[in-house]
Symmetry: C2
Subunit: 212 residues, 2 copies
Amino acid sequence: MSPLADAFIRHFGEMGSRWGINRTVGQIYALLYVSGRPLPADEIAEALGFSRSNVSMGLKELQSWRLVKLQHLSGDRREHFSTPEDIWQIVRILAEERRRREIDPTLSVLRDLLLMKPGNEDERAIQGRLQEMHDLIELLTRWSEDVQRLETQQLTQLLRLGGGIIRLLDLKNSLPLLGSKRRPPRRAPAAREADEEDLAEDFSEDRSEAEP
Amino acid sequence: MSPLADAFIRHFGEMGSRWGINRTVGQIYALLYVSGRPLPADEIAEALGFSRSNVSMGLKELQSWRLVKLQHLSGDRREHFSTPEDIWQIVRILAEERRRREIDPTLSVLRDLLLMKPGNEDERAIQGRLQEMHDLIELLTRWSEDVQRLETQQLTQLLRLGGGIIRLLDLKNSLPLLGSKRRPPRRAPAAREADEEDLAEDFSEDRSEAEP
DNA sequence: CTGACCTTTCAGTCTTTTCTGAAAACAGGA
DNA sequence: TCCTGTTTTCAGAAAAGACTGAAAGGTCAG
């Protein structure tokens, strides 16, 4: 195996264990990612020096994350595995799965706890803290769900903009009829164009809600 | 201890282990978060039923993540620990630390590997894949660094906008002089106002680079 | 300097997770 | 049907990680 691939795979293994995933699984994934062609389980086992059964477990785990897909190659009875070809697809899947496994259960617990009647002042305070966390997590995940639905091209444009996004927000706030409730818009002095009115309408779906 | 707090702490422990962090550490953090006042290590140990030394280790870990801060209360020699009061601060710290521990080392490995001369066609292909991953990670982290620098208020506005952000991007693209190179702007038919020109200038720092 | 009070360290134990080889299960061809 | 090549399961071995108590190290008041 190429020393390039080897170094990459080794690193991914380390990182994997710093994350929730175990070393083996990380390495299998890295191998599939770099090799760029579907591999059968026994080749993976040989390349990485793991037992065949270990690879089987690892692939099962990766499949449960939807990070590898199974396919059959003509003339070969063995199952072959590969990573999605589009790297943005990988990002989307990762985000979705992590949300499903880590965020959703937490939100659900928080909601349950917030439904309980506080028995005393202390519990009221605790619920306050939990509410704050709940709202924050919900805001972040809603946003990420929304953004993930964008076309890749739109997404990259947004990302390349970086901190420059703030100028767009300022623009939005400066347009009358569009400003958020927090910063009341100052009315433009001059008469305005029809074109701009239409845009205004378009923006009115802003999700802003009551202040916490 | 309130059953509310207890359920929350227990859940956080579980989640912690699904993440890189261990159960103990997760529970200590959760306890500090809900109690909303600085606690000394021995109270934590008692509340959670861990040994004093275990708590000491856990707090050390949390401090290394900058997720708890140490303080002295007047009239008490013991060290007390608490979480940052502002929940947005917590988000920022978490993002920074994860970047520092997980992303930066990976980028560094990728860069090293990309500097190596490919020995054959295979290695060239591998480097192609690595480059793709490197660019993606860099784009995402640059963006998150930028966005993290925003004021909390700006940040929440951005988040609340959700998928609506796309309309702002469309607006940007529709303004002549501002459009991305990808979608050449169609010139407005009518004469335009000075106001809009100024805005245009403001947007020109867009980070767009050459197409991959 | 001493004693009271706190915190940290660490060797050893206990628990959990990972990994393996052997066996079972499965799928398709003859 | 049986045979062959394949994947999955699983009990136990091995490794990694978490946790503890005891001891050492700090710090401060008097």
